[in-house]
């Protein structure tokens, strides 16, 4: 396995922090911005499916909103008095849910509607959008508070249809919630240790729970039955797991610095992925994600830097945050929506039918490693963080990676393909 030579940690220069890379081809991510807002560790990052919002969550209980294209700060608010461990944005980009140390989860509007909060509220004139100042703290009450766990909630995920949420907790149980009612739909009490990660399959028919007890269990959402249990040969705690888009496989990350791809029907490990010395997770649950590498020869509207059209789109975005939604229907909105929307990945796959897939994972040494899934070789190592990377997100277009780190660094970095 080819490993790039490691370089001194902590280079902050934006230009060349990741000049050396693996034996690779394809697009390269370069550090473009470092953002800081959280007073404690950055614990979770998510892009909304429409690609227009990046949300960061911290151990300080705050949520901060950022613009993926520019890295601009939009706003922030304290969602919990205690730390937030994980967040999930509904696939329709309407709601955001949090998993907190106070044993509860909350659901908020992703973008709060214009006050007053009545259905008759008519959008005001588009000519007076008050620019969002970073200190303009929005006092938001949660739409739903999910109470049921008896210990910190560690992981949360919206179902593909946004009608259900699954949470995994330190209390060793997972709960499937009815979002509309804000109540427990099913209890899945079947691990012998904390559940670090929960996830949905593509159809919303199955959830997985990954636990510190070394097991991953698959559950039938409809009946609440356990369908299957997967273990790993070292019995290492499973810190992260997710279904691949095709739902036949899942990716797991264990606290033995190892990533595995399982075939869920045969329970066989199809790929074992490591990068000794570069990818290290022994103590902290570092996330790992599968994504389609950005296609450089793709639709030029994707690869071009913000064009006037896209600026128009951002104005729109600001406006709708402030309640002037729908008045400026720039040409850019629809085109960006179609190219950045949820179906984009599928569409791109459908047209090319290619099998390239990359895995990205954060590491305890502050590095972020990207592998090619098929060859298991390291494609790129992103260096810049000085603390463990526990938050990671890839933009729906694949062109932006956001990463966040633990204390003392606690910063968010945006990496872009130019």
């Amino acid at each position: 396995m080819a490993i790039p030579p490691s370089s001194p940690i902590g280079i902050q220069s934006n230009a060349n922090a990741n000049a050396e890379a693996g034996p690779s081809s394809g697009p390269k991510y370069l550090l473009s911005q470092t953002l800081s807002a959280h007073n404690r560790a950055v614990t979770a990052l998510r892009f909304s499916n429409d690609g227009q919002t990046l949300v960061s969550a911290g151990a300080d209980g705050w949520l901060h909103y950022w613009k993926p294209d520019t890295g601009d700060y939009i706003r922030g608010f304290q969602a919990h008095k205690t730390g937030i461990n994980d967040i999930s944005i509904s696939p329709d980009s309407l709601y955001i849910s949090t998993a907190s140390d106070d044993s509860t989860s909350s659901i908020y509007y992703l973008h709060p509607p214009p006050a007053p909060l009545t259905s008759s509220s008519i959008p005001t004139s588009s000519s007076s959008p008050s620019s969002p100042s970073p200190n303009d703290e929005v006092r938001v009450a949660p739409l739903r508070t999910l109470i049921g766990h008896t210990a910190p909630v560690l992981s949360i995920a919206f179902s593909p249809k946004s009608n259900l949420l699954v949470t995994g907790s330190y209390d060793e149980s997972a709960i499937i919630w009815d979002v509309k009612k804000g109540k427990i739909l099913r209890n899945l009490p079947a691990h012998a240790d904390a559940i670090w990660c929960v996830a949905w399959d593509n159809e919303g028919a199955m959830v997985l729970t990954a636990s510190s007890d070394g097991l991953i269990r698959l559950w039938d959402v409809n009946t609440g039955q356990c369908l299957k249990t997967l273990d790993n040969d070292t019995n290492s705690p499973v810190s992260h797991a997710s279904f691949t888009p095709s739902s036949y496989f899942l990716l797991s990350s264990t606290l033995s610095s190892t990533l595995r791809i399982y075939n869920i029907h045969t329970s066989k490990v199809l790929k074992t992925i490591q990068a000794p010395g570069v990818y290290v997770t022994e103590k902290f649950p570092c996330p790992a994600l599968i994504f389609a590498p950005p296609d450089c020869s793709d639709n030029p509207s994707l690869s071009s830097p913000p064009s006037p059209d896209q600026d128009q789109m951002e104005v729109d975005q600001v406006n709708s945050v402030n309640g002037v939604n729908g008045h400026i229907q720039g040409q850019g909105q629809s085109s960006v929506m179609t190219s950045d929307g949820q179906g984009q990945g599928q569409r791109r796959q459908a047209t090319t039918g290619r099998k390239d897939a990359w895995i990205i994972a954060g590491s305890e040494n502050g590095k972020i490693v990207i592998w090619d899934l098929q060859s298991k070789s390291v494609m790129q190592v992103l260096e810049g963080h000085t603390s463990t990377v526990v938050a990671l997100a890839v933009h729906p277009s694949g062109r932006i990676v956001a990463s966040g780190s633990l204390e003392p660094e606690r910063s968010i970095k945006l990496w872009r393909v130019d």
Partner: protein, 483 residues
């Protein structure tokens, strides 16, 4: 997912699992798409159409527009639109991508694909079209390929084909191409049509008449292609199975008949006939199971709530679901699972399911339950100690295969495509004449397809689902359905 489930599990439901408190008189699962069967539309006695989430057993949309009972429902191909028709002589098309609050705009491919983006934000109502008729509407269905084409059956015995693309309306008549159109109204004998559906691929219209005839009509020319006598009394209902190869009809002589359909020529062959000989039950609702293996009949008993289930192939009566005492009005079979929904005269909707025993083996990795003892055969090298480097190399080699992790499976239920090539049987055995006939059928089917695909609707996102509106006031009284 499907492959992890027990393949020998029972394929039909057993007992009422939960009851949704409603005012329903008609129900329909969404039949197609990745989320097929996740939603249940309920047409209300009071004119309100409700959409229930089958997973949570909670009502997620309430659509107000009709003023009388809603007797017919239809989902568009990708579930974005719902058609409801009512005794108030209207049919309404609902756009389910629109939430009641204008500021809640789901950012999904459904909203971005709207070609008419200018019209979208202004209409904050889900009600996108209201079609008025001269008489109460008993059923109305979307064309399977385009929700701008609607087929409505009126209680006065007329079937109307409405084309919203050009605003045309045509009342279907029993006229064969080339046949002398009967001059005097007397000789036409006022053939009343009692029910009408599109074939699942959308190439033909099948209508049942009050004198027991089944007419196959070309939607473009509106000429009758086939005329088959099915029964000697009025046909009340026609339903296709998902594949489009089988039809079930319900007639006023209280018999259910299964016919096989040749999707190319629309030739109908009667196969079976079901009847409740003891009670002579009339049937209020009929249908196939999602896989087409079973046939369902909702019995119209005065004092009981029964659903009969037969095996389609062997015609054996397999199960009679016995529910609460209120009579049954309508029922529908889930497109993918052994689940049936039925409506009682009280308006309550019952969901019937199987109870699945816990599979304890699933909790232990690598554990397998055996039916009987088996002799264990040790592999030659099973307990050999392998050199570590060899092991690593072998493992690495084993893992050197390409896997397709990103492509989303598309094995969900979808409407069959119209036939575009001649089936092999025609090429092998068919005479020249036969072949020519087949080809002319294909030309006709393709012409219908072209006609239907013109002026497409906005229902293009196959993965459509309904966004939730969490701002709605929630009464504590909607706590039903869970047990």
């Amino acid at each position: 997912m499907q492959q992890l489930l027990n393949p020998f599990a029972q394929k039909y439901p057993e007992a009422v699992d939960s009851t949704l408190s409603s005012q329903g008189v008609s129900i329909l699962f969404n039949p197609y798409g990745p989320f097929a069967g996740h939603y249940l539309a309920v047409g209300g006695n009071d004119g309100i159409v409700e959409i229930w989430d089958v997973e949570t057993r909670g009502m997620i949309r309430m659509l107000e527009g009709h003023v009388k009972a809603v007797g017919g429902l239809s989902w568009s191909r990708n579930n974005r639109y719902l058609l409801s028709c009512s005794l108030d002589a209207t049919a309404i098309i609902w756009d389910l991508s629109i939430l009641s609050h204008p500021y809640l705009q789901p950012k999904t491919p459904a909203t971005s694909s709207s070609s008419s983006s200018s019209s979208r934000p202004s209409s904050s109502s889900a009600r996108s079209h209201t079609i008025r008729f001269d008489a109460p509407v008993s059923t109305a269905v979307f064309h399977p390929r385009n929700s701008k084409i609607i087929l409505a059956t009126l209680t006065c015995g007329e079937v109307v084909l409405v084309d919203l693309r050009n605003g045309s309306r045509h009342t279907l008549e029993d006229v064969v191409e080339g046949e002398e159109a009967p001059d005097d109204i007397q000789s036409r004998k006022r053939v009343s049509m009692a029910c009408a559906v599109f074939s699942p691929c959308g190439s033909r219209i099948y209508t049942g008449t009050t004198n027991g005839m089944l007419l196959v009509i070309d939607p473009v020319s509106r000429f009758v292609l086939q005329r088959v006598r099915v029964a000697n009394s009025a046909l009340k209902q026609i339903r296709f199975d998902a594949s489009g190869y089988n039809i079930i009809t319900s007639a006023s002589d209280r018999a259910l008949r299964i016919l096989s359909v040749d999707p190319l020529t629309s030739t109908l062959t009667p196969l079976h006939r079901f009847q409740d000989l003891v009670n002579r039950t009339p049937w209020h609702a009929i249908g196939f199971s999602g896989d087409g293996e079973y046939v369902m009949g909702g019995a119209g008993h005065k004092m009981a709530h029964n659903v009969f289930i037969w095996d389609r192939e062997t015609t054996v009566l397999i199960k009679v679901l016995e529910g609460p005492k209120e009579p049954l009005i309508d029922c529908d079979w889930h497109p993918t699972r052994p689940v049936i929904a039925s409506v009682a005269t009280s308006g309550d909707v019952h969901i019937w399911q199987t109870s699945s025993p816990d599979n304890w083996a699933a909790f232990a990795p690598g554990f397998e339950e055996l039916e009987e003892n088996i002799e264990y055969d040790e592999r030659e090298d099973e307990f050999d100690i392998e050199d570590e480097t060899d092991l690593a190399r072998r493992k690495n080699l084993e893992e050197d295969l390409e896997i397709d992790v990103l492509n989303v499976p598309t094995d969900y239920p979808s409407a069959p495509e119209p036939i575009s090539v001649l089936p092999p049987a025609y090429l092998i055995s068919g005479s020249e004449e036969n072949k020519e006939e087949g080809e002319s059928c294909i030309r006709a089917i393709q012409a219908v397809r072209e006609w239907a695909d013109q002026g497409p609707d906005d229902d293009t996102w196959t993965g459509f689902w309904l966004s939730l509106d969490l701002d709605e006031e929630m009464g504590e009284d909607d706590e039903n359905g869970m047990d």
